[in-house]
Symmetry: C2
């Protein structure tokens, strides 16, 4: 993940409705949710919904799959993980006790990148 991609992802999340949509997709998991159901849950009109879903998809945080006349949107898990990693990378120079950050798949998020890459 590079800086531009990270800014795109964070911008996508930095909006009330898109954040609501994102969290809905996070909870829903890989099965996803049809657009119409999202619209109803969030309470916005179809034009706005399409606009916001596109922002999320463009930011690699969601995927779209057509199913007949519905389009089902799902969380793009890797996209989500990449942003978080980008934010927390190299934190506190690896002194985990200073930031209490989580571990990511067994590797310390908080370990300096160089050390992680040697491992």
């Amino acid at each position: 993940m590079n800086e531009t991609q990270a800014v795109t992802a964070l911008s996508a999340l930095a909006h009330r409705h898109r954040l609501q949509i994102f969290r809905l997709l996070v909870v829903a998991g890989p099965t996803g949710v049809p657009a119409g159901e999202i619209a109803e849950a969030i309470g916005i009109n179809p034009t706005a919904l399409t606009f916001h879903l596109k922002e999320l998809a463009n930011a690699d945080l969601a995927t779209a799959t057509r199913e007949g006349r519905y389009v089902r949107y799902a969380l793009h898990v890797d996209g989500m993980r990449r942003v978080i990693r980008y934010l927390t990378e190299d934190c506190c120079q690896g002194r985990k006790e200073l930031c209490g950050l989580p571990t990511m798949r067994g590797r310390e998020t908080c370990k300096p990148r160089a050390a992680r890459e040697r491992a």
Copy 2:
């Protein structure tokens, strides 16, 4: 953390220079970095720097402490952790294998909130 706070934090991060500043503070850890040093590292003018630092501080992602004529900015670790938690809460309905999310201080980020709170 509520929705508004999360949007504020994500908006603060959703800018090239602020993201650079944030990551600088993440690496620096609790010691922080004087404003002037940040300006030099990022390469922006003092007015812009103040503007962006204020956004980060206002979003609870950074703190400012005056030290003589310098002002030292540091990462606000709890703020950072709260946004990440807000984003990943209740993911995949607790089926961690679906999202490969990190654990947060021993508690599964990916476990449903209700289950976490019972624990």
